[in-house]
């Protein structure tokens, strides 16, 4: 029963947050002046004429970091249930988790040695 109420409250909070944002956006849309000109709607490019499209390929490093994040985040999520039950699981649970973390660390050092996290050339 309590849990249902708790999630309902989260839903209400979401409705309030969305409502606030929508009201504010509508308000500024209605109140603010609208004098559109071609030049005003140009993109900012530090004062010079816009060259090409901004949606160009960018450095692969960012993508590599994003993939590594997904990998590690999943492993961290595995640590949470273990941490909650740490006292109940006792020494056996601790040793098992050392093995898990060691496996994680092997992967981590592989990435570091492979230069996956190297930003400077």
């Amino acid at each position: 029963m309590m849990q249902e109420i708790d999630y309902l409250v989260i839903l209400l909070q979401l409705m309030l947050a969305v409502g606030f944002v929508v009201v504010v956006m509508l308000l500024t849309h209605l109140v603010g002046p609208k004098r559109k000109t071609k030049l005003k709607q140009e993109n900012t490019e530090a004062g010079i004429k816009v060259v090409g499209n901004a949606r160009l390929p960018f450095n692969i490093k960012y993508f590599v970091v994003a993939i590594l994040f997904v990998l590690f985040d999943v492993e961290i999520i595995f640590l949470y249930p273990w941490a909650v039950n740490f006292k109940a699981l006792g020494t056996t649970g601790f040793i098992e988790m050392i093995i898990f973390i060691a496996t994680l660390l092997i992967g981590f050092f592989y990435i570091v040695k492979k230069g996956g996290l190297k930003w400077e050339k």
Partner: protein
């Protein structure tokens, strides 16, 4: 059928209580975020031997309201080459997410109104910390969508930098809290707070986790020394370069809500939440105790917000490769070491 049963079983008194609390907390959160902008400018001014805003009302006290009205009255410009829908959606997501995070915070001990307990916590989820992580990481979408939709090179670079930085520090942030969860045996923020009564603040047991979590909180909020997403000297305004009027205000204001929430979570997890030593021995009635506990928590929150601002005007910005190196190659191994050390100490000494 199940849905109907649930509906009939709702405790409408409790829901009304919660609605009142939602309203109060919303006003408090927005108020504190608004006055954080003034506090930041005043603190910056004092640190740089200036006066700061002092025209709108005494001591500039009306400045946040004036700023808010101004940003509503401004013309909203959407660049011709931008993706219109996503351009509007970006700041909306960012602000909505910022307003969601504080739902799980226990603000103080229960109040008693006509003998009935009135919980000062919107939702005591048993997955508390995981909920806050889940919501906080959604903020990346707002930044990435906004930056990409602008169709501006500076915005795109700022957005990519910001999102990469945020996801990198989320790892260290998640890992740094595991020792705390191990000690409290719970993810609920209420339980973690109750475990810190008296002098048992987590900062004394886990100073390393505190330092790492605090640094990651700075990075998650895109604050100096980790504000690489909006380095003025190279990226103009970063992901919000193209934004104007209320959409810009939502980005900037959302950042201050995030600072407030981060300061709150740090106070709850490491600084004992609403506890202070000797609180139970004061001999106060439950209601006064509750009020004192709320004031204690807010004193801690204001102090942490002040530290955030203090750091902003003291420490220079990191370089991007240094930032990534700190997050991945220093914090993650340190966190794992901290987990193992905590586990070892707990295994050896508690039984």
């Amino acid at each position: 059928m199940l849905v109907l049963n649930t509906f009939a079983n709702w405790n409408w008194v409790l829901i009304t209580d919660k609605l009142i609390l939602i309203g109060i907390l919303f006003a408090v959160a927005l108020g504190i975020a608004a006055y954080s902008t003034l506090a930041e400018r005043k603190i910056a001014a004092f640190m740089q031997d200036r006066i700061g805003p002092d025209r709108a009302g005494f001591f500039g006290i009306l400045q946040p309201i004036v700023d808010g009205v101004k940003s509503i009255m401004k013309e909203e410009i959407i660049p011709g080459r931008a993706h219109k829908f996503l351009f509007i959606l970006g700041p909306c997501i960012f602000m909505t997410v910022a307003l969601m995070t504080y739902a799980i915070i226990p603000w103080g001990k229960d109040l008693f109104i006509n003998g009935k307990p009135f919980s000062l916590q919107l939702a005591d989820l048993n997955v508390g910390i995981l909920y806050s992580f889940a919501i906080v990481s959604l903020g990346v979408y707002g930044i990435m969508i906004g930056g990409w939709a602008s169709n501006n090179k500076f915005s795109l670079l700022g957005a990519v930098r910001a999102s990469t930085q945020m996801i990198s520090y989320e790892l260290a942030m998640g890992l740094s809290l595991i020792p705390i969860v191990m000690m409290a045996s719970s993810l609920s923020l209420r339980d973690i707070t109750e475990a810190q009564a008296g002098w048992n603040w987590n900062i004394f047991y886990q100073p390393l986790a505190f330092i790492i979590f605090f640094t990651c909180a700075l990075a998650e909020c895109n604050r100096t020394p980790f504000d690489l997403a909006e380095t003025e000297s190279e990226l103009i305004g970063g992901y919000h370069t193209e934004y104007s009027s209320m959409k810009l205000a939502l980005f900037l204001f959302g950042e201050y809500v995030n600072v407030f929430v981060s300061a709150t979570i740090i106070s709850i997890l490491f600084l004992g939440g609403y506890h202070f030593p000797g609180m139970e021995n004061l001999g106060l009635s439950p209601n006064w105790l509750s009020i004192v506990s709320i004031c204690t928590l807010f004193a801690k929150i204001f102090f942490m917000i002040f530290v955030f601002m203090w750091i902003r005007w003291t420490i220079p910005r990191f370089r991007y490769d240094q930032l990534m190196k700190l997050g991945w190659q220093i914090f993650i191994p340190l966190c794992i070491l901290n987990i193992l050390a905590t586990g070892l100490v707990m295994t050896l000494f508690t039984r």
